[in-house]
Amino acid sequence: MISRSKTSPEHVEVRVLRQAAPQQRSYWERFRVAYEPDMNVISVLQRIAARPRTADGQDVTPVAWDCNCLEEVCGACTMVVNGRVRQSCSALVDRLLEENPAEIELRPMTKFPVLRDLMVDRSRLFRALEKVKAWVPVDSYHDMGAGPRQSPEAQQESYPYSQCMSCGCCLDACPQYRKIELIQRDDETDEQFAARQAATYDRNFVGPHAIAQAILFNQNPTGQMNADERVEALTAPGGVQVCGNAQNCVSVCPKEIPLTTAIAQAGRAATVHSIKRWFDR
């Protein structure tokens, strides 16, 4: 419970780590936003966008950031707020001021290339979903009747994983997930660059979100049919073996997805799979 009766400040001090474009130097800028009840970080950024002037009165460009649903289901507005990665829509100003009454500190995610200010390029996160084949490979979209029956227990087990909104919190907090920022070379076409990017991403850690998605589709009765392909992907370079069990993923996940359970299940599947493969070859 928060009380904002007497202690409500007149202004909120906001410190934003800004960066004009990729590869450029970042710098801090301080803003002062009039306090309103029920503010969240998004509304603070909206006020800054409407009147981009720093605390010391300088007119600057508005802060760029990413958001969409503002209900914590789309995963767009992830950023590092007061040192902790989270969705900025559900980061309430009153709560943040309890953590630190002096100011609110906003930084872009640390594991993804900054595009501008608080906007980052999270394409690697989606590439990981391609790598683990996170889909049900149905034959067609024709009318073939209902899907296989599933027990409510199985649905309850899968449902949490299916809520993953690819926000990237788990990746940003993971000490084993390292930032990769590639620069397009002059002699490289867009396609060549995209291919190089994909190859580099594939070699590095897929991340807890993708491991959980692989488990989700391996639990699905139809998805199960190519479970081996997903386990194969999870034991390829950058697979589940990179996990260092710091378990930050599960503690920062805004949807409380049991990511460490997925990782352990992936570990078990990998164990069985690799032993089987070794004896079968």
Binding site: R203, A246, T261
Partner: protein, 285 residues
């Protein structure tokens, strides 16, 4: 940051290497450590009890170096060196995310490095690594290494532990090894998929904690026991017992006499008379 199209051998075999690393931590390295600490803690039952265990190990005789290298030293080197590769791939962030498991993630790496450095030095300090005269006499001894003599096990070990710095290093080293093993078993259970649900992981954590505390007690008991054998009257008594056992074993034909594995007179300062007395027994066959 990797950017080349040709993956290195290390990258291509990442899964296998990581799993071997995980496995080697328990078998043989961890398992050896448990046996080692248990054996050493038998010194709490007197130097004779410990000496008996050492004789048992040394009954392998010529095979011993082979066993040591294949089952202990090489796995330790693999585990340690690949461990450093793993550590280099991580980026600790406990200041932002001070969760218990994240702190243990860092501790696992810190204790891993400590344990590896400690083991390298500990083997040198006690064992000397290589049983070649030029090395032992020419290098190791001059650097304070190779102080343990298997046929004067407790007394030489105890003597080697008398310096304050050394005993502190051993306490830290042993605790680091114990934490690394206990926490390592817990993470291994996740890596291999033995405990998957949060509840199972919590239970496994409790078991690993009990195991770790137990092993720490055993390790510290071994250290304390050794250290106690290396001073005052206990030392004299220890040497007396060890020499007695040696002589008895040699006379019974169970043991091949081997002066290399015994304390040299110059090394054991107090209680020399006892040794001198027995010098006659050391006459060649």
């Amino acid at each position: 940051m990797a950017g080349e199209t040709n993956d290195s051998w290390l990258v291509r075999h990442e899964f296998l290497l990581r799993r071997l690393h995980s496995l080697s931590g328990l078998i043989p390295v961890g398992a050896f450590m448990i046996v080692h600490l248990l054996t050493n803690s038998s010194v709490q039952n007197g130097p004779g009890a410990f000496q008996k265990n050492v004789y048992l190990i040394h009954s392998l005789d010529a095979l011993l170096p082979l066993v040591e290298w294949v089952f202990i030293f090489i796995p330790i080197f693999f585990h340690g060196i690949f461990g450093i590769v793993i550590i280099a791939g991580g980026l600790p962030n406990t200041s932002s995310y001070p969760n218990a498991s994240n702190i243990r993630y860092v501790l696992q790496r810190v204790t891993g490095v400590l344990a590896f450095l400690f083991i390298v030095w500990h083997v040198f300090h006690m064992h000397g690594w290589i049983h070649a005269d030029w090395w032992i006499d020419g290098v190791a001894k001059n650097l304070g290494g190779a102080q343990f003599k298997p046929y004067n096990a407790a007394s030489t070990a105890g003597l080697a532990l008398q310096s304050f710095v050394v005993i502190v290093a051993y306490v830290v080293g042993v605790l680091a090894c114990v934490f690394h093993l206990a926490n390592g078993i817990w993470t291994m259970g996740i890596t291999w998929g033995a405990w998957t649900s949060p509840a199972a992981q919590r239970r496994a954590n409790a078991v690993c904690t009990v195991f770790g505390v137990g092993l720490a007690v055993i390790g510290l008991a071994a250290l304390q026991g050794m250290w106690a054998q290396g001073r005052g009257e206990a030392l004299e008594e220890a040497i007396r017992i060890e020499d007695q056992q040696y002589n008895a074993a040699v006379q019974a034909g169970i043991l091949k006499p081997n002066e290399e594995k015994r304390a040299q007179p110059s090394e054991a300062e107090p209680g020399r008379e006892a040794s001198v007395d027995q010098a006659s027994a050391r006459s060649p066959r």
